[in-house]
């Protein structure tokens, strides 16, 4: 039961508030003790009212809290007792109850209409938020720890990759040097016009050495993939800069992709060059290569078509395999790998006899049209 000290406080109906409310007089005796406090503490308003605050709530006997309280009646304004510095000032009915476990207390001075000073002690139950913050901090610390571990692993990996790259680079360089010497001697012998089986064997050796050189070049290109961060490339510019040189004399390029840009590994320049070079080399009579773009749902289809001899149905997928082909067998394999770094997929969908047609599917978010 709440015992109000006058009509004006009674009219406030402090019992309906979700906070514990205790009003004290200037002599520190309790004048009001609301039902929320009764519920949390198990102390009846009858037992609390007119008694000294420190005899009902023992923590208020603490000299430090007393000093803080003094400020309230001495013109210092409201006093805050946070849950962090003062865990649970008001006692709980049961040690196992969750309500009121963490309390935030505000003590504010006010005056009754007759000028008599009072202080209102509002007890806020901050248990839920306190426990949530603790959990949140725990999760954050765990994430931070995991991130630090990840960083350490990444650093170790970077060192290992760097070592491997250095080793690969040195090995390639040394192999190339030895191969150059080897080919040099081979050409000297071939220039001496060997005959019969020897000539055939030497020719085979020359071809094998060229394949070795291509493998070394492939190893270099493959190592470079994914080394740099992907960036935006304008299709028009890529075609313009790739389709130059004697290989493409007599070939017309038509680019109908507008301002289309794709997010790609910087090696995309090599990929586009390989596609163009393939179109000319394998198309046999290719004179026109067209670039188009087509929206498909939330993606973009970049279509590269030529008017060469096309790709037979039976090898449409095999052309992307490493080792396939009449040249080095690395071109289209590399193209697929380079495009794959940023999620692009390539396939051949042309008709044999009318020309090759490559479709590159660019995922949503990895293409844009500046200026649109």
């Amino acid at each position: 039961m709440m015992v109000p000290d006058n009509k004006s406080i009674a009219a406030l109906n402090l019992n309906s508030l979700p906070v514990g409310v205790c009003i004290i007089r200037e002599n520190y005796t309790i004048s009001t003790w609301n039902q929320t406090l009764e519920k949390w503490t198990g102390i009846d308003a009858d037992d609390a009212t007119d008694n000294l605050l420190s005899s009902v709530v023992k923590r208020f006997a603490d000299p430090l809290i007393k000093d803080r309280m003094n400020v309230v009646f001495n013109g210092g304004g409201p006093v805050i007792l946070s849950s962090r510095f003062h865990s649970r000032i008001f006692p709980l009915k049961s040690e196992t109850q969750n309500e009121g476990k963490f309390q935030k207390i505000t003590i504010s001075p006010f005056e009754l209409p007759d000028g008599e000073p009072r202080a209102m002690i509002a007890v806020e139950d901050v248990t839920a938020i306190t426990e949530q913050v603790f959990k949140y901090r725990q999760i954050k610390d765990q994430i931070k720890y995991e991130l630090e571990e990840k960083k350490k692993t990444e650093k170790a990996l970077a060192v290992a990759i760097n070592k491997l790259n250095t080793l690969a680079s040195i090995t390639r360089h040394d192999l190339n040097n030895s191969l150059t010497v080897f080919l040099g001697y081979l050409y000297i012998i071939l220039n001496n016009n060997p005959e019969g089986k020897i000539a055939k064997y030497l020719e085979n050796m020359k071809q094998a050495a060229e394949v070795m050189r291509n493998h070394i070049a492939f190893a270099r290109d493959y190592q470079e993939m994914g080394h740099s961060l992907p960036s935006w490339f304008n299709i028009h510019t890529l075609v313009e800069t790739s389709g130059v040189g004697p290989t493409f004399s007599g070939v017309t390029f038509t680019v109908e992709t507008g301002t289309l840009e794709v997010l790609a590994d910087p090696l995309i320049k090599k990929a586009i060059y390989n596609l163009l070079e393939n179109a000319v080399r394998h198309g046999e009579h290719t004179s026109l290569i067209t670039f188009k773009s087509l929206p498909v749902e939330d993606k973009i289809l970049l279509i590269i078509e030529d008017n060469g001899k096309g790709v037979p149905e039976s090898i449409k997928e095999k052309i992307f395999e490493r080792g396939f082909g009449s040249n080095t067998g690395l071109g289209l394999f590399l193209v697929r790998e380079i495009l794959g770094i940023t999620g692009m997929e390539i396939k051949e969908t042309g008709t044999e006899g009318t020309g090759a047609k490559f479709e590159i599917r660019v995922p949503a978010g990895n293409f844009r049209y500046p200026g649109r």
Partner: protein, 204 residues
């Protein structure tokens, strides 16, 4: 703005008394040795003049944490305790002896900072209250974050007067600086000035 040495000294003394009292309370509350000093006080009716050179409100590199308390009555104005955000966070962490990552001012830390600021504000207001004869009405203190460009401290009225006191915390050999910034309306400031002058002449 012309402010007599007496008034400046009087205000500085009262703020120092309040700040000193709050240091004592913080020592007892946190069982940590806390030293609080007020090395400089400035009074002016324009914001630019009112902010002390090197005061945190004139630094534009960081965001600040601010605890604000409005009061009215015989004197009317706003009390601001302003601390650079990171310093405020560190202050709370040191005072509470928390472990873990001190990277965010979460709800608990805000609540703790509010109590620390409340101790300082209450002590200073209590010290200033010897200049007035009636009790003031106070709003509930609020926590705010803002950039340290001082825009948020713009006087409510052109005739307002600002009292800026640089406050230096020394906690566990770490120095944290903040600003106490009290904005008073002109009438309140003149009232305080007259009371200081009277006290100087007659004594307490």
């Amino acid at each position: 703005m012309d402010v007599s040495e007496e008034v400046l000294d009087g205000v500085k003394e009262l703020i120092t008394i309040g700040v000193g009292r709050s240091a004592g309370m913080l020592n007892r509350l946190t069982r940590t040795h806390v030293t609080l000093t007020v090395p400089e006080v400035c009074i002016s009716d324009t914001y630019s003049e009112c902010t002390i050179k090197h005061s945190i409100t004139t630094q534009d590199t960081h965001h600040t944490s601010r605890v604000v308390l409005d009061f009215s009555g015989e004197i009317t104005g706003t009390f601001n305790l302003i601390i650079p955000h990171i310093s405020a966070l560190n202050l709370v962490i040191i005072l509470t002896g928390e472990e873990g990552s001190p990277d965010e001012m979460d709800a608990l830390r805000v609540e703790t900072l509010l109590e620390v600021a409340n101790i300082i504000i209450s002590s200073v207001m209590s010290a200033l209250s010897i200049l007035i004869s009636s009790k003031l009405s106070f709003q509930y203190p609020s926590y705010q974050t803002s950039s340290s460009d001082g825009e948020h401290l713009t006087f409510k009225d052109q005739s307002d007067v600002g009292i800026n006191a640089r406050t230096r915390f020394l906690v566990q050999e770490k120095e944290i600086e903040g600003d106490i910034f009290i904005v008073l309306n002109r009438e309140s400031f003149e009232h305080l000035t007259a009371r200081i002058m009277t006290l100087m002449e007659t004594g307490l």
